[in-house]
Symmetry: none
Subunit: 411 residues, 2 copies
């Protein structure tokens, strides 16, 4: 069963507002089991609203629209719908009364422009708006069920949940199920290759990919005769995906990489210290974005200057002078120093050249040394990361967190 | 001159991703003087991509498309464009070489699926992608100039600025001019109220707002008979905006708040140390995201545990025990300690309760103490920030940075 979303407003087509309504409604329709084939956003132009509505209504069984129900002259949705359906506009006495009472409650007088919000295409079903002035409405347009709601997200969400969902739920097939995996460590192309043939092996399954640098999310969507069969199919395909990707998968659904590393530390019962240089606090920020980092995090010493590496971590001047701040020796001393000064069980240190300047022939931009110090000893890794500053910093932070996770497992 | 935006990807129509690309591109096209009449987002379905592209190309002079250029089987844009234009697909040797070299630089072998990213509709103009594997391309579709770019925002933005804008600029009417201000410190509704009436006072001017938490961007767009008149009108309206908003404006255009603070430190010739607790490295991360932070940043000590506050910053146990870690006294000692241990000219300390747990009746979630230590003495501020963890951390980091900026000015 297909559905489409239409957003109306010049503030959208001019890019002044990000269209969060369209994604929220689409996610809701997808959850119900609809296949959303298109979002369209048009400016406040009656002809274009009519054309978009007619087109979407011809291609989908359900069309959910927002915006253009306000009191001003550029709010044209009701007019456009009446034109598309070929009916006159009628004023609804009950709605007018609701709007007038709303204004009275606020100690204001209703203006003529607000009275316009009680106008509907003849024959429309009115959808109440308990938290705003503009009611919504539902009509049939060229065989599709079309719903019109205000663009204000709060009002729209409540109207969708209370008045749209109950009217379309029985149309949804409820025959799909989706599982999601979060991965780090391979580029999208390699993840795709590793999973090539899974779709063919499990008819009804679609594998989707979503890159949120530096992660790739893998989505396994199964459609089958009914919901039970879809769950079963999704789970079998997901098992194949897990077998093929192995360690690259770090979690499911809403997991975050930092959250998974935090979990590994908690499981191991370890406290953590960090010493950062080129990543400038990013590792600490990733870990503390999640609640509960105080369970394990004692210290993140962002020792940006060499003097700070000496003063806070006790890195000796000879090491800095002899090997340079970006070296395996200094990374090792930073990790050992962070562990010593904080008393943590494990410490991660990262020192490198994030660029764009500061690189040389022997130490190019992107060169990073990462060290993990545990009671068993200190492991150090040299990596050269590609891309610009932000990439280098992010990849270094992730690789460092991955090293902490491995240390927790192997301890 | 009309333009349209087409976004391709099931992650959009399923509502898994908010379509920020469409609004960013629309804002760019609007800035150039185009009238953007529609955004459309379609799922990864070849037939629907072709239909949407043909429809948009018939209605607009420029069509800017993103997504579906990746290496996996659900990336269908190139195929769809070739079908819409009626040309075969050809592999481009130079692009293939670029992709292969990119992989070699990363020490990896290019896979066959990545080779697909060197395929283009015959006759297309290839748009280089210096920061990703997938090049973009431009073709003519039913008389419209159509551009195809990757969906990854970073790659898309750079390609749009460097390769799309120069190819469409001369098509735009060139009768508009836009100035942008970046603000921090007031909510969008209050910024809007302060600027109420500016549009009426300057006919032809539109004021737009864009919230990137915790900042509000204010855009002053002027349209006039010609470019010169538009520049003049925009500048006069912008002067009025500046007069009304005053200090709330921290910069223009592409300025970032951390960048402006870094500039203030450089101008003052000061070095900086930071001591963070509840912000967990965010202040350091914001400052070091920008290149050149090593000019001034010596140390960011994220002393998450009390023991670290003592060991690294020398905060005495009595202060921690008597006042608690979240107190004006401890904030002061953290700032003084960070300045002393690093030898920096100025130090910022932040300690608070980011939540969701850890609050109490006397010290609720959101309570944050910020201190700035300079040779003249230490200033401390108590604030209670609203919202959830991420909001509290971000607001605290911004307010702290603002205090550093003020200290630089007043020194």
């Amino acid at each position: 069963m297909t559905a489409a979303v239409l957003s109306i407003g010049t503030e959208l087509t001019r890019g002044e507002l990000v269209n969060t309504n369209a994604s929220w409604i689409s996610a809701g329709l997808t959850d119900l089991g609809f296949e959303v084939t298109e979002h369209s956003a048009v400016d406040d132009d009656k002809g274009r609203i009519v054309a978009a509505l007619e087109r979407l209504a011809r291609g989908a069984k359900v069309v959910v629209c927002t915006g253009g129900l306000g009191p001003t002259t550029d709010d044209l949705t009701t007019e456009a719908v009446a034109a598309a359906v070929g009916v006159p506009i009628e004023r609804d006495a009950a709605s007018l009364d609701h709007i007038r009472r709303r204004f009275e409650k606020l100690g204001r007088t209703m203006s003529e422009s607000n009275a316009k919000q009680a106008d509907f295409p003849a024959g429309a079903t009115i959808l109440p708006n308990p938290i705003g002035t503009a009611p919504g409405f539902a009509v049939e347009v060229h065989g599709a069920r079309a719903f019109f709601m205000p663009g204000v997200p709060r009002e729209m969400k409540r109207m969708f949940d209370e008045h749209v969902v109950p009217r379309i739920r029985e149309l949804a097939p409820n025959d799909s199920h989706q599982l999601r995996f979060r991965t780090f460590g391979l580029p999208e192309s390699v993840v795709g290759e590793k999973l090539s043939g899974v779709e063919a092996g499990f008819p009804g399954v679609t594998i989707g990919y979503r890159a949120h640098f530096p992660e790739i999310e893998v989505k396994v969507l199964a459609r089958a005769a009914d919901r039970g069969a879809a769950v079963d199919l999704a789970e079998r395909a997901a098992a194949e995906v897990q077998a093929r990707l192995g360690e690259v998968i770090y979690g499911n659904g809403e997991d975050t990489f930092a959250g998974v590393v935090g979990r590994a530390l908690r499981t191991r019962g370890w406290t953590l210290a960090i010493a950062e240089s080129c990543t400038g606090g990013l590792v600490g920020h990733l870990l503390t974005k999640e609640p509960g980092a105080s369970d394990f995090l004692l210290l993140d010493a962002v020792t940006y200057a060499n003097s700070a590496k000496q003063a806070v971590l006790g890195v000796d001047e000879d090491a800095l002078r002899g090997h340079g701040a970006v070296s395996a020796e200094v990374a090792t001393r930073m990790a050992d120093g962070a562990r010593r000064v904080s008393g943590a069980d494990v410490a991660l240190a990262i020192t490198g050249i994030a660029g764009p300047t500061g690189g040389s022939d022997t130490k190019p931009v992107g060169l990073v040394y990462l060290a993990v110090s545990t009671p068993k000893g200190t492991v150090v890794k040299e990596q050269t990361f590609p891309g610009e500053r932000h990439w280098i910093q992010t990849l270094a932070a992730y690789v460092g967190l991955a090293m902490v996770r491995v240390a927790c497992k192997n301890a």
